[in-house]
């Protein structure tokens, strides 16, 4: 076992850090091991879930409303541009510098990061619903509220879930700097290598990456589950069409 660990170099040491507790760099406290890794991961996940949930509660109604009335497109699409340009590190540090440290403040900063992709995707999803479908719903006597909740929302669900997925993944990635606000997420060993050592730093990185992949996979499954059956059928037909070679000398001329 120890030979395998040695052969893997820094990575072997990092896995050892995940599996076994050890003395900190200064030798004063015990760090690492499954217990501490689990504790840090749980805080990390709690913080990310809270931020994404709050962001969804704020952004979803806004995007739904903007998409339903079909106006302020510039506002809805440019929020995500601005969101991308604002440096995540700057935003969190800014919040800490002005509001102070703590779970709530760092959560608020993460909420701000998560809102833009959800608003934009919700807007794009709602606007992407076939206008004829919406007209038909209006014609059948559905009220605006019913059209939004029973027609537009379900049909836009895959795109909306895509936005939440992007937001959640980027929040997990950014929650790594939360230790600057005294919230001990998996970022703790990353920003304090003088206590945890480089093995702890690398171990935390590996765990964060695995956590992100797991979260992404779960949300992808949810995204598939909430996709209405009709859209899945349409997508499959689209894929079949895609299998036909694009530029083929024998391709039949299709009537237009």
């Amino acid at each position: 076992m120890s030979q395998v660990v040695a052969a893997l170099g820094p990575f072997g040491d990092a896995f050892d850090f995940i599996l076994h507790q050890r003395e900190s760099q200064a030798g004063t406290v015990q760090v690492g091991g499954p217990g501490e890794i689990w504790e840090l991961s749980w805080t990390h996940l709690k913080l990310s879930l809270a931020a994404t949930a709050i962001a969804t509660l704020i952004a979803l109604p806004i995007g739904l409303w903007l998409g339903h009335i079909g106006r302020y497109q510039f506002l809805a699409t440019s929020t995500s541009n601005i969101g991308r340009a604002v440096p995540a590190l700057g935003l969190i540090v800014f919040f800490i510098a002005f509001l102070g440290v703590g779970f709530v403040n760092v959560c608020a900063a993460l909420v701000l990061l998560a809102i833009p992709p959800i608003i934009t995707n919700t807007y794009v999803g709602i606007r992407g619903v076939d206008r004829e479908t919406v007209d038909a719903a209006n014609g059948s006597g559905l009220t605006g509220m019913q059209v939004a909740s029973k027609v537009e929302l379900p049909l836009a669900m895959p795109t909306i879930m895509g936005g939440i997925r992007i937001a959640f993944v980027s929040v997990i990635a950014t929650a790594t700097v939360a230790p600057l606000a005294n919230v001990d997420t998996l970022g703790r060993p990353i920003v304090s290598p003088n206590v945890y050592g480089t093995a702890g730093q690398l171990a935390a990185c590996i765990v964060v990456a695995l956590l992100t992949f797991a979260a992404d996979a779960v949300l992808a499954a949810i995204q598939r589950a909430v996709t209405p059956r009709g859209i899945k059928i349409q997508a499959n037909q689209g894929r079949l069409r895609g299998r036909v070679p694009f530029v083929s000398p024998k391709r039949s001329i299709q009537p237009t």
Partner: protein
């Protein structure tokens, strides 16, 4: 003048910003550096990190554009590769940036190269996806017409499909530009410096945080603007149509 550190930023403009800033620099730490005097006096300290950040943004964008476009053209020719490439670039994008920097650091060592590799990996999905969508959105009828006129497959690609896909390709490049500037903010974890390193070196000092963050936002805006100007130059026919 004891409470002068609490004077709002704008009031300090008239106070001694233009005439005598010597006192302002001393008082500023009381206001945590958040005043124009401090920023003006220490601005030169940010020029080197800014230049590092510019390089950290432009180099990955250039390399990433070449690689992603090549991938997309390959996938356009051999459609069977499309789902694999999309999965591959999507997975790269999912890796948290700080973790990516630090994991790669153990393989390729500290420094600029490691940061460039990571940042290039992140540009892939944004550019690849847009090139792919742009090529797919070219109307089949247009390609049919080109074929009917006797153009070869290569001519169709370079004279019809790629020019028509240019607006979508440039949109992807714009998104990639601003997100690369943002992710390069963490490049100091790979020992590559940049403005993020300045933020991280003194996160409690507001003047420092605000100056470095604003410079990053401005850099992102300038890069997007440059891409937009290049797009205008390359697609003169788009100007005739309201976008």
């Amino acid at each position: 003048m004891a409470d002068v550190s609490y004077v709002p930023i704008l009031a300090q403009l008239g106070d001694d910003f233009f005439s005598n800033r010597e006192g302002a620099a001393k008082r500023c730490p009381g206001n945590n550096g958040l005043c124009l005097g401090w920023i003006a006096d220490n601005f030169t300290d940010y020029l080197d990190p800014l230049w590092e950040h510019v390089l950290l943004s432009i180099v990955p964008l250039a390399i990433g554009f070449v690689i992603a476009t090549a991938l997309a053209l390959f996938a356009h020719r051999y459609r069977i590769m499309q789902p694999f490439f999309l999965f591959f670039v999507g997975t790269l994008f999912t890796i948290p940036s700080i973790a990516f920097y630090l994991i790669l650091l153990n393989i390729t060592g500290r420094g600029f190269t490691t940061a460039v590799v990571v940042l290039t990996a992140y540009t892939q999905v944004l550019i690849y996806r847009n090139v792919m969508i742009g090529l797919q959105e070219v109307p089949a009828e247009t390609v049919d017409v080109a074929e009917g006129m006797g153009l070869t497959r290569r001519q169709i690609l370079f004279r019809v499909e790629l020019p028509m896909a240019l607006p979508t390709i440039f949109a992807g490049l714009r998104i990639a530009a601003s997100s690369t500037v943002g992710i390069a903010g963490f490049a100091f974890f790979a020992g590559a410096g940049g403005l993020g390193g300045e933020i991280f070196s003194d996160p409690a000092f507001k003047g420092n945080v605000v100056t470095a963050s604003v410079l990053m936002i401005l850099l992102a805006a300038v890069l997007e603007l440059i891409v937009l100007v290049v797009q205008r130059a390359f697609t003169p026919w788009e100007r005739a149509v309201a976008t």
